[in-house]
């Protein structure tokens, strides 16, 4: 099976950056409530992240869905691993699992 060429670009993002958020809009100007919610959670937790605006890159917008086998955006990657979408990140934040998960992955958190 020939691989989707945009997968290379996505792989590079998730391998080069410990925490990557594929989202609609930017952290300062999110274009979707679900993306905004994840940005807010990551900010609250104090984790630095790279964001990729899928609205600026239509091939990534479609490619990330196939890459992750996940039909919606936002999508969070931690150390190259798909961590979840908005509902999962929100649930993990509410139960305290998110901080624990980031710690286990060796991600540095800034004190709030």
């Amino acid at each position: 099976m020939s691989e989707n060429p945009v997968f290379e670009r996505i792989k590079q993002e998730v391998n080069d950056n410990p925490v990557v958020l594929f989202m609609k809009g930017s952290p300062v100007f999110p274009q979707c409530g679900f993306s905004a919610a994840v940005v807010q959670i990551l900010t609250e937790v104090g984790v630095k992240f790279k964001s990729v605006d899928v609205l600026m890159e239509p091939d990534v917008r479609e490619g990330i869905k196939a890459f992750s086998n996940w039909p919606t955006v936002p999508q969070l990657y931690v150390k190259g691993e798909f961590a979840g979408g908005c509902d999962i990140i929100r649930e993990m934040h509410e139960t305290g699992e998110l901080k624990q998960y980031l710690n286990e992955k060796g991600i540095e958190l800034e004190a709030a």
């Binding site: 979707c32 086998n69 979840g84 509902d87 999962i88 649930e91 993990m92 509410e94």
Partner: protein, 94 residues
């Protein structure tokens, strides 16, 4: 002809695929009116809470993938966003 064809389809597919103990589907499209992805007539944004034995022993990601797979046609079509709560019997959200 029902007034909520998308919601009814979601309900039918999840009941068939998950034999849920409980299922709750709320159309939240009103909250997203005017925003990208919102459709005339609503039925674009849903909140779905399902309790099913099918979820037992599965991670959150696996559970949601299961739901998305059952609703692939709807996700590719009229549904812009699904908020999912996926619990196994006996689990609570907190």
């Amino acid at each position: 002809m029902t007034l909520t064809p998308v919601k009814d389809t979601i309900q039918a597919k999840l009941e068939a695929g998950l034999s849920p103990e409980s299922i709750e589907i709320v159309d939240e499209s009103d909250l997203h009116a005017g925003h990208a992805g919102a459709r005339e007539g609503g039925e674009s944004h849903f909140r779905v809470a399902v309790v099913s034995g099918e979820f037992a022993g599965k991670s959150r990601i696996e559970r949601q993938r299961l739901v998305y797979a059952l609703l692939a046609a709807e996700m590719a079509g009229p549904v812009h966003a699904l908020s999912l709560t996926t619990l196994a019997p006996g689990e609570s959200t907190k």
